[in-house]
């Protein structure tokens, strides 16, 4: 498929041309950073604003979703409300990998999530290669390469005054059909951008060794050792591209109500609170164990994918500098020594 050229001056117009039939979700300025959000008419996506604050998962899997409504005696059947299809525009590679991880759970698992499926299948995804890593990024540790990204329809690669738009699927080819072919000079600039990115990568975290070290672990004194100052605030799980746990509640007013699915977090007390009042998971160590094992042991076993893409957001938002990269290193060491002893 021929690489196309999208000039920076023409991005707004191009995105606008896609908009009549689609809802566009793209990074936009947000309190000194940028965030993915629905692009309003004629707005310019913030493609140079660095890694968006939260992951892109929200577009496909919103924080709160109505499943059905009810009134005393009658249930309005669960219907997937028709929405204009989405174009996710300018999605970072770590988020693309995150969508792949969500797919394994919500699309390809034993239960198919109808809401996610409807959005996901109708959506077109345009990736965006990063010019450089943020200090907290470690996607390279997971073999993710923004210049050869996972699951997207088109990938945008920076090339000076333009982006080279590389279609990767038929859907993507159709999306960028109206753009001119990329010329040799821009292709060369794009190649250089890739080389520059790879030359300045952050040091890798030894993920494979860690996955091996935690493969069979549950009870271990090592968990206590990595708690540090974690206050179980949950910020990390809400910004994560792969965290997908949810809660289901009935919101009622008088005789009417709706059943709602909303993100939940394993950092919270209520996450595991039993009806009896008993809570099997009370300490920060137990909760961190869940967060780590879900990502590096359970998902590996059940979905054959890891629940971390190295986006580094949890590191960036943590108020007490709890750093998953550091935890991975220390746990690998502790657990491998323990198994040898």
């Amino acid at each position: 498929m021929n690489p196309k050229l999208l000039r920076k001056t023409e991005i707004a117009a191009f995105v606008q041309s896609l908009a009549p039939s689609h809802t566009i979700v793209a990074p936009q300025p947000d309190e000194g950073q940028c965030s993915y959000g629905v692009l309003s008419n004629g707005a310019q996506p913030a493609l140079d604003g660095g890694r968006p604050r939260k992951s892109a998962k929200e577009a496909l899997y919103p924080q709160k979703e109505r499943m059905f409504a009810f009134e005393a005696g009658a249930v309005e059947p669960c219907s997937v409300e028709p929405e204009p299809p989405l174009i996710l525009f300018g999605v970072r590679a770590c988020d693309l990998k995150g969508i792949e991880a969500l797919d394994t759970v919500l699309l390809h698992g034993a239960f198919v999530d109808a809401f996610y499926k409807a959005r996901r299948e109708a959506a077109a995804i345009v990736g965006l290669a990063c010019e450089k890593m943020c200090p907290t990024c470690f996607c390279n540790s997971f073999g993710i390469d923004p210049y050869a990204p996972p699951a997207c329809d088109v990938n945008l690669v920076p090339a000076g005054d333009a982006f080279v738009a590389q279609p990767l699927t038929e859907k993507g080819e159709a999306l960028v059909a109206s753009l001119p072919d990329a010329d040799a000079a821009h292709l060369a600039t794009a190649r250089k951008a890739g080389e520059a990115f790879h030359a300045a990568e952050n040091p890798k975290v030894a993920v494979d060794a860690f996955v091996e070290a935690v493969a069979e672990v549950f009870e271990s004194p090592a968990w206590e050792g990595i708690v540090d100052g974690c206050i179980n605030c949950g910020g990390c799980t809400y910004v994560c591209p792969t965290c997908h746990c949810f809660d289901i509640v009935d919101e009622t007013i008088g005789h009417r109500g709706q059943r709602v699915r909303a993100w939940d977090t394993c950092m919270a007390a209520r996450f595991t609170l039993h009806t009896s009042g008993h809570n099997p998971r009370v300490t920060p160590a137990q909760r961190l164990r869940q967060r780590i094992l879900h990502k590096f042991q359970y998902m590996k076993k059940n979905q054959s994918i890891l629940g971390c893409t190295g986006c580094g957001r949890c590191v960036a938002v943590c108020p007490v500098n709890w750093d998953i990269r550091d935890a991975i290193g220390r746990l690998t060491e502790e657990l491998s020594t323990a198994s040898k002893a």
Partner: protein, 274 residues
């Protein structure tokens, strides 16, 4: 200097078994970040650091070590929250060895990019109101906090609540939010449903602010913890200013006096109650 003094004090007290652990800061994993650190023995004390990035309010960790004798580093705002906890019998004074530090303000970032944190820009209390040892020279306060409080915040607050993801990080970062079950997380009845609708986020946040009004030490912990960078300090300071105007009390300044919430008089201003 201060760092060396902290290390020395911690080491001495740990060696003498006067305390079981010492709560301070250690080097973080990112430039301009430190980590909360509990030194359990004299050998750990070399890891204790003190610099302008030492922002986390360590008082938040005291509840984690019931019955232990604890040494702790506090800035003036942290110390104010500690005073509130002492008022409320959440900690025992005799179990604490308090190292106070006179505070010129804490910063986010390093070098040329370092920026004074918002609560410090408007902070009037530069000397810890409670301490066994106070480190650092006196600090001049040169601010105009009232200027920052002018105007109605309601519209701005409503706007910010659209961005809230209701992670409750603001609550968890606060030493004064120690309820075993937060009203926002109780299930019978469910006062705040999970999700991110602005109305419920506002309900939660107003509830939180009601619960810390008259107690808050203005340490900035809540705002720092917010992954959405919601300027919580603004509204909290407004509540604090109201308290001060109405009841003539600033929270956490003295263990001896009981604080606005600890006293009652029939002549109290009741204008905020229905």
């Amino acid at each position: 200097m201060i760092q060396r003094a902290i290390q020395k004090l911690a080491r001495e007290k740990l060696e003498a078994k006067a305390i079981d652990l010492f709560l301070g800061y250690a080097r973080g994993t990112l430039p301009g970040r430190v980590k909360p650190f509990a030194a359990a023995g004299a050998a750990d004390c070399d890891r204790l650091v003190w610099n302008e990035n030492c922002d986390t309010n360590l008082v938040n960790y005291l509840a984690r070590y019931p019955g232990k004798k604890i040494g702790i580093v506090v800035k003036p705002c942290d110390a104010r929250t500690l005073v509130t906890l002492l008022h409320e019998n959440q900690v025992k004074r005799e179990n604490l060895f308090i190292v106070g530090v006179n505070c010129p303000g804490v910063k986010t970032g390093v070098g040329a990019e370092a920026a004074m944190q918002p609560q410090c820009l408007a902070c009037e209390i530069r000397k810890p109101p409670i301490a066994d040892v106070t480190l650092g020279g006196p600090v001049e306060t040169a601010i105009a906090p009232q200027a920052k409080l002018a105007g109605e915040l309601w519209d701005e607050f409503k706007g910010e609540m659209q961005r809230c993801i209701r992670c409750f990080a603001c609550r968890n970062a606060c030493p004064l939010c120690y309820c075993t079950t937060c009203f926002a997380e109780q299930t019978m009845p469910e006062l705040v449903y999970p999700g991110n609708d602005a109305a419920e986020s506002a309900f939660f946040q107003l509830g939180r602010i009601m619960h810390i009004a008259g107690r808050c030490g203005e340490c900035g912990g809540c705002e720092r913890a917010c992954p959405m960078d919601i300027p919580l300090q603004k509204i909290i300071r407004k509540a604090a200013a109201f308290l001060e105007e109405t009841y003539g009390e600033k929270a956490g300044l003295s263990v001896e006096t009981p604080g606005a919430l600890g006293t009652f008089s029939p002549t109290d201003n009741n204008s905020i109650f229905l």
